[in-house]
Structure formats: structure tokens, C-alpha cells
Amino acid sequence: MTQKIFRPALWRAGVLFSALLLALPVFVVFSFLFVPAGDVWRHLVATVLSDYLSNSFILVGGVAIGVLLLGIPTAWATTVYEFPGRRFFEWALLLPLAIPAYIIAYTYTGLLEFAGPVQGALRAVFGWSAGDYVFPEVRSLGGAVLMLSLVLYPYVYMLSRASFLGQSLSTLEAGRVLGAGPWRVFFSVTLPLARPAVVTGLSLALMETLADYGTVQYFGIATFTTGIFRTWFGLNDSAAAAQLAALLMSCVFVLILLEHYSRRRLRFFQTGGRYRHLPRHTLYGYRRWAVVLLCLLPLTCGFLIPAGQLLVWACSIAEETLDQRFLQLVGHSLLLAISAATITLLLALFLGYGRRLFPSPRLAFAVRLSAMGYAVPGTVIAVGVMLPFGWLDNRIDDWSRELFGLSTGLLFSGTLFILLFAYAVRFLAVSLQSVESGLARVTPNMDDAARSLGCAPRSVLMKIHLPMMRGALFSALLLVFVDVLKELPATLILRPFNFNTLAVRAYELASDERLADSSVAALTIVAVGVIPVVLLSRAISRSGERYAEST
């Protein structure tokens, strides 16, 4: 019906091509399955593989419980209740997103370790010495679960809140009229309706957990991810390492497919013109303070304490001058974050629309595959990008030397292109989920109505889709922006000469065990990251309102 303007065949081919291009690192990793790795596997199976598996499993399970417990109640409370500080908590609860996981791990270790101020004070006050008392160890599996939950719950909070805000009062009223109490309505109406959003938030958090290297490595926990690097660097067997990575990816992929399969028949569209915004229920007495406490807890532990510790270090100990070179770091970080966020959003829009316009299992599969990068450690992505582009560069160079006697050098892998490409691979999933959730709000009926009223496809896009999706697009931009700001491993490997970022700076000092000195760069990452987080929250609140106005 839209042949003249859209040229579906070309579109479809384009979508398929870019999805597969973005999945290139995944293919590279899987291609190692055909390389024999031999003895190393026998060694791994005999010694450490079971540890890798069980630790990763517990980590992922623990973080799943953690982010759900922290994310959903806070999202619900800030949506339906009125209590002191509600407007503040709406955005402040997103703040932990600005703190890189390995940094929160460092700060809590500094605070709570045996030699740290908290235990030191306890010993001084009670006159205890080592062995007289039991203090929970931060650098443990449980500690890692806690650290990751604290910085990753905002994904669940953000997406479930957006979904709660988008739900109509009439649905809830129907539940109440049918005799269900508020709790029952929450569990049997609200939560199931929000399920796709909750699951998306959860899967983002868990993919990030699996890709985490900094935290678990610092805590001395052998997980699948640390195992990949140990096998690669320590045992010097890149094939076996890639095979481990392929195994990890397969598990993630199966989980994603299962989740999609489980809700393949569920399609929620808010229909009917009787949309009314949820009125807020004002809380009184102890309940109101209980809710305040509920919101204060993740904010304090996930943001105030670590940021406070960084601030203390930055003021008292760090030797960092805020000179021209430091500003340059900020500039580089911003440049990368802004370009990567824009590119990733455009790619996500292209793929998201492609999937909507041409629903086919093959296309859907390709798009899923291209979003796998989020579960893969940045270093693996970086190598997966480096190998094919390095190869391509050298082939082009050979060819050009032969034909023209000219060396073209490293066209792709020697420039920022390769870094931006790696970011796109790594963070497409984040953009894509925002775009897809935005697209899901635009019901097919609306397209049809607009078309039957004489709108051309292009003006459907401009007049209906864009206004309705503005919030989602904005979220996509900001989330990737913050993620790139925090990103370390790919940046470290792929950046050009003399090009440092805040994350690189913070990492170099921290990995040299100068935690306090790294605090200025870390704090700057947090400060720069806070701005988009605040904007993000306003966008979510407003898109809920706009939705209410527009229907």
C-alpha cells in the first residue's frame, strides 16, 4: 500500500543488512566454535567451570530479585501515592544510574572493609579486635549482588513507572468494581499489564550483570565473565575464551526467546477514549513515612553514600588539577556519548520500524541478534569488532597498494568509527527497547484512522508517531548517553592516540590502587551523568501526562 514511498524490498533488505552488520561481533565470537581448543576445556571442566556457572547463576538470580524489590515498589509508590518529597524522589530514584558499577564497588569496599572507617570505628568503640565480631564481608558474592542491584534497579523503576503512568484509571476501577482490594488489583491487573515493561527493565539489568567485569573481578568472584578473561589472558587460549563467551551468549539468547515466546499472545493496547490519569492517593500517619523510607533506602545506598564517599576522597586526598587536560577529558567523554547516543537511536528507529512494518520471523530474529551485545563484556565486543574491521582494512590496503601503489592504512579500525560502532553494538538493546516500547503505544488503529482521514504515511509519522514517541526517543538518547559515559573496556582498547576519557582516567588510577585519586574523575562522570538522568525523569513524567492529554 505504501510502495511508492517506502519501497519495502529495499527497506527490508536494509534492515536485515544493518541488523546482521551489528551482529557481526556475535558472529565472530561464534565462529570460534569451529576452532579446536583441546586440553583447556578438559582443564576448565575439571577445575573451575562449575564455579563459574554457579556463581554467575546466583549473581543473576540475586540481582533479579534485588532490582525487582527495589524497582517496582518505588515505581508504584511514586505513581499512585502522594507523600512528602514525592516529586523529588521521582527523579532522584534514577540517580544511581549515573554511578558505574565498579565505582560503587570501590567506594563500599573503602567504607566497609576490615581496615575501613566503619569497622575501625566499631573496633575503637567496643574495644574489639579481629575475630571478636562478625561483620558481613562486602567483597563477596552477596556483596556483588547488592552492589549491582543498587545501580541497576533504576532500569526496572524507570520502565515500570512509565508503564504504571500509562495505565488508565478505568482498568483499575473495573478491578475494584469487581470486588478486588487494592493489593489484589495491583497483583492481578496492574502488574500483569506492566509485565512487558518490567521484564524489559529486568532483562536490561540482567544483561548488564552478565557483562559486568569490574565489580566481580575486584571482589574476587569467579564468574563466567572473569572466566572468559582468565582463559584468554591467563591460559592464553583465545579460542576457548571465545567459546565460553559463545556459551554465555547462547544462554542469554535462549532466555530472551523464552520470554518472547511466553508472551507471544499478549498484546496490550490501551483502547477506548475513557483514559483518565491515576489520581494520587495522599498518605497519612506511619504509612506515609514508611513510603518515604522505602524511597529513601535505594537512593541513599545507591547514590548518596557512594557519591558522598567520592566527594570526601576528592576533597581530602585526590591529587587532580582541574586544568585544560581535565577539561579535555570531559570534552572527549561528551563527544563520544552524544555521537554514540544519536547513532544508536537512529539505528534503533530504523530497526524498530523495520520490524513493525515488515513483521517476519526472520527479521525479528535478526533484530534480536543485533541487540545481543548488551549481555557481552565490552572487551569481547571490542575484539569482535576489531578482528573483522582490521581484516577488512588490511584487505583494502593490499588491494589499493596493488592497484595504485597507495597505502590506505586503517580506514575503519584506526579511527573513531570503530569505537562508535562498538558502542552501537553494545548499547543497541537499550535504545531498541525504548523505541519499541514507544512504538507499542501507537496502536495500529491510530495509523489506520489517520490514513483513512487522508494523511500520507509521512504525515502519520510526523503528526502521530513523533509526538507520541517523543518521550521514548528521549529516554533512548539519554540512557545510551549515560551508558557510554560510564563505558570502559571498549573505549580502552579501541580509542585512537592521545584520546582519553573520564572513565579511562578513573579506571587508570583505580586499577593502580589509587582509589582516592580516581575520585575526581569518577565524581565528574557521576555529575555529568546526573543531568541527563534528571531530564530523563522529567521526560517520563511528561510523556505520561501528554498521553493523558492526547487521548
Binding site: 577445575t47 572493609e113 573481578q217 586526598i317 574491521f389 579511527t415
Partner: protein
């Protein structure tokens, strides 16, 4: 849409490249460096080199394995002329992968003793990093702990702190033991050591010293420059912790204390070969050599270079004269042994 995104990729690449000023074509007054030594631990020296010679040094820092991978995938088009790592095992690996080329000059031969360079000139050590044993003053009698081997002695059960076996310094230490006394004996030793650990390994070298000072264990294994960094830290708690500790130089009556080097190699496809050799030679000059000790408490590879006061306080010691290439050769065997011993 696709064109838009393609155009924006192209645009940001152009902008990015423009702002970085990176050009793959080599200009004569440049040298390009891939360094696993952190920026703070190499840049001041490079700046000094540029001042003296007028040669611009372009720098990418990163983890050594990643840099090796990058060199490998860039092949003959790599812009890197010189590779600096913070351990000898990786230099061995770079040579094995054909990523380095030999260079022999009088200056280099004079500057670097034979144990700390590759015999044919594929790489040269720049600074020594010793990994001795530390103990809490008053809690341990140093006479009971004169060798690394003694760490496996049951009398130290529950008294030792050491970091994870993921760490390259532990891998190198174990590799050196394999080179000296064979895999079987080393595995027995590693198992004994694991039985003596006060806690499951976690944190870095400084954390082991801190834990010992706080009473969690009596003995810690760490590289000296972390100890030096703590002693001169602006953080009071770190300084106080370090002051409670003292050094044992192990194996003085036999092979010597385990040392590793940070070192440099000329890449196979170096385009600025001449400048790279100049830089390499600069890095082994007495001036640069004494800088490592002043700034990061490392020991110069060059003999006859004055040590800083702190290093002199710690005393002279006999270091292991094993050629450091061996550390690379036995690295994966070391990791396997540590896996089997249950060293996390």
C-alpha cells in the same frame, strides 16, 4: 533513515578524527606508543623525551592483552612503533606472536643487564618490580620465613593474605617457581599456600597489606611499589597501615627474590623505527631510570643508578636472575596449577 545514520556516522568520524589529530601516515618527527603502563606512570617521561628531541610521542594506554590483540589485528598497517607492557610474560607472548622485531644497540646493551632483556633484542626491561613478603612487625619472626616455599608451611595456617590468582603478578611468581623447581613441586606448594590463606583472595596488593595491618592476617605478598605508594600516601589510614609492616626479601640464600619488569619492544611493522629506537634508548638512560624509582618506587634495571631514599631504607636484595622470558613460557601452566590448587 539509513542514510541519515550513515551520514551521522561519517560526520562524527570526520569530526572525531579532526579533533584528535590522528593520522595513520607517519610523519618523521613522531613516534607512536601502545602502553600498558598507565598514563600517569609514563607520560612525564615521554614529555621529557619530546622536550629533549623535538619528537612528538603519541600514546594509547590500555591493558596489555588488549593492546596485543589490537596490534595483531592491525597487522602491517599498525600505527604503533613501540609496545610497553608492565610484565615480561606479555613481551614473551608478543614475540611469540611475531609482533616484535629485534633491535640491538650499544646503548641498550649497556643499559639493560642480560637477565632483563630478550637475548636477541626483541624486548628490553625498563624497570624492576619486586614481589617480596610483608609481615606485621612483632607478629612474625622473619627468620621463620626466608623463602617463598615457606609460605606453604602449616605453621602459617590462617595467617596469609594474597590477592586472586587472576592477577598477573601472582601468575608470574608461580611461573618462576615452575621454572626453578618444576610443576609438581609448585603444585604442592600452591595447595599448601591456599590452605594457609586467612581469607578468600580479594582486592589488590594494597588491600592485602591493609588487611594484615588491621589484624586479619600476619603475612601479605605484594609488589613493593604499592607499599611505597602507601607509605607516601596522603591518606592517613594507608600510611599508618603500611608503617605497621616490614619487608622480608625471600630466597636470599638461593635463587633470589622474584622480580618482574615493565618493558618495551619495537613492533614488527614500526614505521618510525629510528625515533622508536631513540625513545627506547632514552628510557634506559640513567635519568629516566632514576625516575621510575622516584615516582613509582620501582627499581631501575640499570646498575649503578642511584636509588631513592625509601628504596635504600628497604635495603639491597638479591633478585632472581631467571631470564624473564621464562615467565611467559610457564604462564598458562601456572594458571592451571592455581586452578587445581583452588586458588581463587
Amino acid at each position: 533513515m539509513w542514510f541519515k545514520s550513515a551520514a551521522s556516522v561519517a560526520l562524527s568520524v570526520v569530526l572525531g578524527v579532526g579533533s584528535v589529530g590522528f593520522s595513520p601516515a607517519a610523519a618523521p618527527e613522531e613516534v607512536n606508543l601502545y602502553s600498558a603502563r598507565k598514563e600517569a606512570l609514563i607520560k612525564p617521561l615521554l614529555d621529557r623525551f619530546s622536550e629533549q628531541t623535538g619528537i612528538t610521542v603519541n600514546l594509547v594506554t590500555g591493558k596489555e592483552d588488549a593492546l596485543l590483540q589490537r596490534l595483531q589485528s592491525e597487522g602491517r598497517n599498525t600505527p604503533a612503533d613501540l609496545l610497553i607492557t608492565s610484565d615480561a610474560g606479555r613481551l614473551y607472548r608478543a614475540k611469540e606472536a611475531g609482533l616484535t622485531q629485534p633491535v640491538v644497540t650499544d646503548v641498550l646493551l649497556q643499559g639493560v643487564p642480560a637477565a632483563y632483556r630478550e637475548p636477541t633484542g626483541h624486548w628490553y626491561g625498563l624497570s624492576l618490580r619486586a614481589r617480596p613478603i610483608f609481615y606485621v612487625k612483632g607478629k612474625v619472626s622473619p627468620a621463620d620465613l626466608t623463602r617463598y616455599e615457606a609460605l606453604a608451611d602449616p605453621q602459617w595456617k590462617g595467617k596469609i593474605c594474597i590477592r586472586s590468582s587472576d592477577n598477573i603478578y601472582n601468575q608470574s611468581l608461580v611461573a618462576s617457581m615452575i621454572a626453578h623447581s618444576g610443576a609438581e613441586q609448585t603444585e604442592q606448594w600452591a595447595t599448601g599456600l591456599v590452605n594457609n590463606l586467612a581469607r578468600s583472595p580479594k582486592g589488590g596488593d594494597r588491600d592485602q597489606i591493609k588487611a594484615a595491618a588491621a589484624g586479619e592476617c600476619d603475612i601479605a605478598v605484594a609488589n613493593t611499589y604499592y607499599y611505597g605508594g602507601m607509605l607516601s600516601s596522603r591518606d592517613d589510614s594507608e600510611r599508618l597501615a603500611a608503617e605497621k609492616m616490614a619487608i622480608i626479601w625471600p630466597n636470599q640464600s638461593d635463587r633470589g627474590t622474584h622480580v618482574n619488569v615493565s618493558g618495551a619492544a619495537l613492533t614488527t611493522y614500526a614505521r618510525n623505527r629510528e625515533n622508536a629506537v631513540k625513545l627506547l634508548e632514552f628510557l634506559v638512560q640513567p635519568e629516566a631510570q632514576s625516575w621510575y624509582a622516584r615516582v613509582n618506587f620501582e627499581y631501575p634495571v640499570r646498575t649503578g643508578v642511584a636509588w631513592s631514599d625509601l628504596l635504600q631504607q628497604w635495603g639491597e636484595f638479591k633478585s632472581d636472575s631467571l631470564n624473564l622470558g621464562e615467565l611467559g613460557r610457564y604462564n598458562s601452566a601456572a594458571v592451571m596449577i592455581m586452578d587445581r590448587a583452588g586458588w581463587k
